[in-house]
């Protein structure tokens, strides 16, 4: 069965990165751009904003190269370039989070060189599992709320609770879609799953949730589920919205059954939490959710989560999509690869750049990895 009628809504949104937000702004809705899934989108939504993830563009950069050092990643270059080229005239507000020094620099440059929208930097504790971190983050979100209220007026507790319930429901639904895909890969491709992910970060969550629920219903109604023989791979990596890399992996013979990518499932990480107040629920969620390499919990070995995920997804191998100069990811890469090796899970590392189409040579590596997973070259 063909699920394409249920995918059109997502593909239409990702086809023109700005159109959805531009239309919302034209209809009078305030649009808030944010960079990182750690920015508390529930507060923005509760304050009446359409939160839209700023993911930069695929293609060459120029003006940002004048301002950023050569060791800044292609994502940072790309997003700054879009700001300098005034691609975001409809933003009322931009929110950064302090994930790394480069993004802090981008925030400063954005403020210094644009000035066409208000900016807020959300500071998230690097270690998230201490009492001090909980208090710090709680105070920080109160500060962010106060800054938002300067423009939006008081944000009702009910509005935050409704936004929290919507986002939690959305996370659970995305998790269900991932589970279905991993159980029956091939009905959807990993590339389509990535497009659904990306669309979710550009659309109103309520609208995206309805579309994902419709897709899940259609998925569950399929009786002739495919019986795929392609090697199953789990993808881990840093910031790159370029779906061409996922597409290349699948064209080269591996099926992406799950991911832990900054713009992938990490944006919808589920965590069952409940606070005494709506704000406390939001605080608890962001501290309890699965973390990216920029944040840490209990000095937990970074490889453990990936080994568990690869096993849960029945992945035969892991492919790393490593953005050059992404230091937080590079720090975790070494212990993660060691953990995979200990668990006897093969891995392949691909260097990715947001501004580049994947070089053809990568195809050979992924094809060879697929052949390796299938046990070729028996003498």
């Amino acid at each position: 069965m063909d699920l394409s009628p249920w995918l059109t809504v997502f593909q239409n949104v990702t086809a023109d990165y700005y159109e959805y937000a531009r239309n919302a702004a034209a209809q009078g809705r305030k649009v808030a751009g944010y960079f990182c899934s750690y920015v508390p989108q529930e507060l923005l939504y509760g304050a009446g904003y359409l939160p839209i993830r700023i993911l930069g563009r695929v293609g060459a950069t120029s003006r940002a190269d004048e301002l950023l050092q050569p060791f800044s990643c292609s994502f940072a270059r790309s997003v700054l370039d879009t700001a300098l080229e005034r691609e975001w005239p409809f933003l009322s507000l931009t929110l950064f989070s302090h994930t790394c020094d480069t993004m802090q620099n981008v925030a400063d440059l954005w403020r210094a060189h644009t000035g066409d929208s208000k900016t807020i930097i959300v500071s998230i504790p690097t270690r998230v599992d201490t009492e001090a971190a909980a208090q710090y983050y709680s105070d920080e979100l109160q500060r962010v709320r106060s800054l938002l209220e300067e423009d939006s007026g008081p944000i009702a507790e009910d509005a935050i609770q409704q936004a929290f319930d919507l986002y939690q429901g959305h996370r659970a639904t995305m998790n269900e879609l991932y589970r279905l895909h991993a159980e029956h890969p091939g009905l959807l491709t990993g590339t389509q799953l990535m497009e659904i992910n990306l669309a979710g970060q550009l659309m109103d969550r309520a609208e995206h949730l309805a579309a994902v629920k419709a897709l899940i219903a259609a998925f569950q109604a399929v009786s002739d589920l495919p019986d795929e023989k392609m090697p199953r791979v789990f993808v881990w990596g840093s910031m790159c919205r370029h779906t061409a890399f996922i597409e290349l992996i699948e064209q080269a013979g591996c099926r992406v059954v799950g991911d832990d990518l900054c713009v992938g499932s990490r944006s919808y990480a589920p965590a069952h939490v409940e606070g005494a107040t709506p704000m406390e629920s939001v605080v608890r969620y962001y501290l309890a959710r699965a973390h990216c390499p920029a944040f840490h919990r209990d000095m937990h070995h970074p490889g453990t989560a990936l080994v568990e995920a690869a096993q849960r997804y029945k992945a035969q191998g892991v492919i790393f999509l490593m953005t050059n100069f992404c230091d937080p990811t590079a720090f975790d890469y070494v212990p993660i690869t060691q953990a995979l090796e200990k668990a006897d899970i093969p891995s392949l590392t691909l260097s990715v750049e947001q501004h580049q189409e994947p070089p053809e040579q990568l195809r050979t590596r992924v094809e060879a990895f697929a052949e390796m997973l299938q046990g070729s070259a028996v003498s």
């Binding site: 050979t364 052949e371 390796m372 070729s376 070259a377």
Partner: protein, 264 residues
């Protein structure tokens, strides 16, 4: 020769195209190496044809043809494609069953492949974005030094005090060579420095892929005695060089063709 089941592998590389024919008992019937040029599909067809003539069979008598190399998808005659990593592993293992690793240095990339006890690929590392550590690097340097590529490596054996080439980039290494020439350093010493440079570059792949001996070296650069010696010095163990290192990938492809053909 009619009625005999024959199988072919064709390895379309960036510098040369290699074709090799085998019979149903995996005996090599004939092979050929030609420059790839600008038209990869044509090079593959011609190379298969020339090798078929040498093998005493015709192109259309092939039960199955497997293509490999970076131009593998351009081969019209192929039944299927297999990557050069699997093909070099397969070919090396067929020639040298004890091999637990393969180092392939081709025209455009270099590879380090670790094999398990059954000859399956365990791990691999590739240098595919940069000409350093490849045959192209040697070509550029040979041209710069006005040396014949076939005799380039043997000149390293005459070195008295090999120079140090610190850059891993072909363009910057070329500048370094020019500086050494300006300082009137002996060409043999420069050649030895270049061979050490390429070996050091490939050795980093070897370390990352954690290769273990015995190792077979394949690809055109395996014919360069200077690089082989430098590589062996870094590895601390001898390399096994097949009689025709350039056609090992094509042999692996032909063996895959045999598998495919006998399964049909």
């Amino acid at each position: 020769m009619s009625g005999r089941a024959v199988y072919a592998g064709v390895d379309v590389g960036s510098a040369t195209t290699k074709a090799l024919w085998i019979d149903g008992d995996a005996r090599v019937l004939g092979s050929r190496v030609i420059p790839s040029g600008g038209n990869l599909a044509d090079a593959a067809s011609r190379c298969l044809q020339y090798a078929a003539e040498e093998a005493g069979c015709s192109l259309d008598s092939a039960v199955c043809i497997v293509a490999t190399g970076y131009g593998r998808e351009r081969v019209a005659e192929r039944s299927r494609s297999v990557t050069e990593i699997s093909c070099h592993a397969r070919g090396a293992r067929a020639l040298y069953p004890e091999a637990r690793s393969v180092i392939d240095i081709g025209g455009q990339d270099s590879k380090a492949i670790a094999l398990d006890e059954r000859g399956r690929v365990l791990r691999f590392e590739m240098n595919d974005k940069c000409a350093a550590g490849t045959g192209r690097f040697l070509e550029v340097m040979a041209r710069l030094l006005e040396l014949d590529l076939d005799r380039f490596g043997s000149r390293a054996g005459h070195a008295v005090a090999p120079v140090s080439i610190s850059s891993t980039c072909t363009v910057f290494a070329e500048s370094e060579v020019i500086s050494h020439l300006a300082q009137d350093r002996a060409v043999d010493d420069i050649v030895a420095g270049l061979c050490r440079s390429i070996a050091a570059r490939v050795h980093s792949l070897v370390s990352r892929a954690r290769l273990t001996a015995p190792t077979m070296m394949t690809g055109g650069v395996a014919k360069n005695v200077g690089v082989v010696n430098a590589m062996e010095a870094l590895l601390g163990s001898p390399l096994h060089i097949p009689e025709s290192p350039q056609t090992v990938g094509a042999l692996g492809a032909a063996l895959y063709a045999l598998d495919e053909g006998t399964q049909q």
